[in-house]
């Protein structure tokens, strides 16, 4: 295995590990769920992508057969990460009603702002005709534990 390939694989591994650590640190540290979504969904995808690219370079460079597993994992993670983040945010929003988490650092108010076109946000519009409506959340002062 040549020195250039080794340095490239090592750099990608360090980059990927650092991104994964930063993403999970943001998950543990940020104040509310909507801000916590940012860390894992961006940084972790980059981090796993870095590790997988390092693996895709390492195996052909060290003389082993190339396999499609890394490419499949990369494509699958890049496809599913935004969908699962969107589902988590939607479930959180419907459980909270129109009250989002207050974020004291940014001065974000306690309630969801109205959309500029009037009416209600699109994610709440199907709720009236919904046969299984989302359970109503407690008043916004109390946080369910």
């Amino acid at each position: 295995m040549s020195l250039a390939a080794e340095i490239l694989v090592a750099a990608l591994l360090v980059l990927g590990g650092g991104f994964i650590l930063i993403g999970s640190w943001g998950l543990a540290r940020l104040p509310s769920l909507m801000t916590r979504l940012h860390g894992p969904t961006k940084a972790t995808t980059l981090g796993v992508g870095g590790c997988l690219i390092a693996s895709m370079i390492y195996f052909p460079a060290s003389g082993q057969a190339w396999s499609a597993h890394e490419l499949l994992i990369t494509i699958f993670l890049l496809l599913t990460a935004p969908i699962s983040a969107n589902m988590i945010a939607k479930a959180h929003l419907h459980r909270q009603g129109h009250h989002i988490d207050p974020n004291p650092a940014d001065g974000i108010p306690d309630s969801l702002p109205a959309p500029p076109s009037g009416g209600d946000w699109a994610t709440f519009q199907g709720a009236a005709a919904d046969p299984h409506p989302a359970p109503q959340q407690d008043p916004p002062g109390r946080r369910r534990r």
């Binding site: 998950l27 543990a28 769920l33 916590r36 796993v48 590790c51 990460a81 589902m87 299984h132 946080r143």
Partner: protein
């Protein structure tokens, strides 16, 4: 046989991913809402995928990559199913 640079980088990446798993476990235990726990489990499985990939490079084997692929699929289905359960109170309608 891996060289000195690569073995150092592998040790660094393994330490980072292990620390990331501990941090997401902290968020899983702490909560406070169930959305936080879903997000923590999702992050935890992605970290485990990264751990499997780095371990595969460290061991110079491709045996474990199928486990990582299966874990990615199961984690996505589990996240979506749990979110559907929170939204509707029902999964199979």
């Amino acid at each position: 046989m891996t060289g000195a640079i690569l073995s150092w980088a592998l040790a660094f990446a393994l330490a980072c991913v292990s620390l990331a798993i501990l941090l997401s476990l902290f968020r899983l235990v702490r909560g406070p809402t169930s959305g936080d726990r879903i997000l923590a489990v999702d992050t935890l499985t992605i970290n485990v995928i990264a751990l499997i990939v780095v371990f595969g490079v460290a061991e110079a084997t491709q045996t474990y990559f199928e486990a990582a692929l299966l874990l990615a699929m199961v984690a996505f289905v589990a996240t979506v199913a749990y979110c559907k359960f929170l939204l509707r109170g029902d999964i199979v309608e």
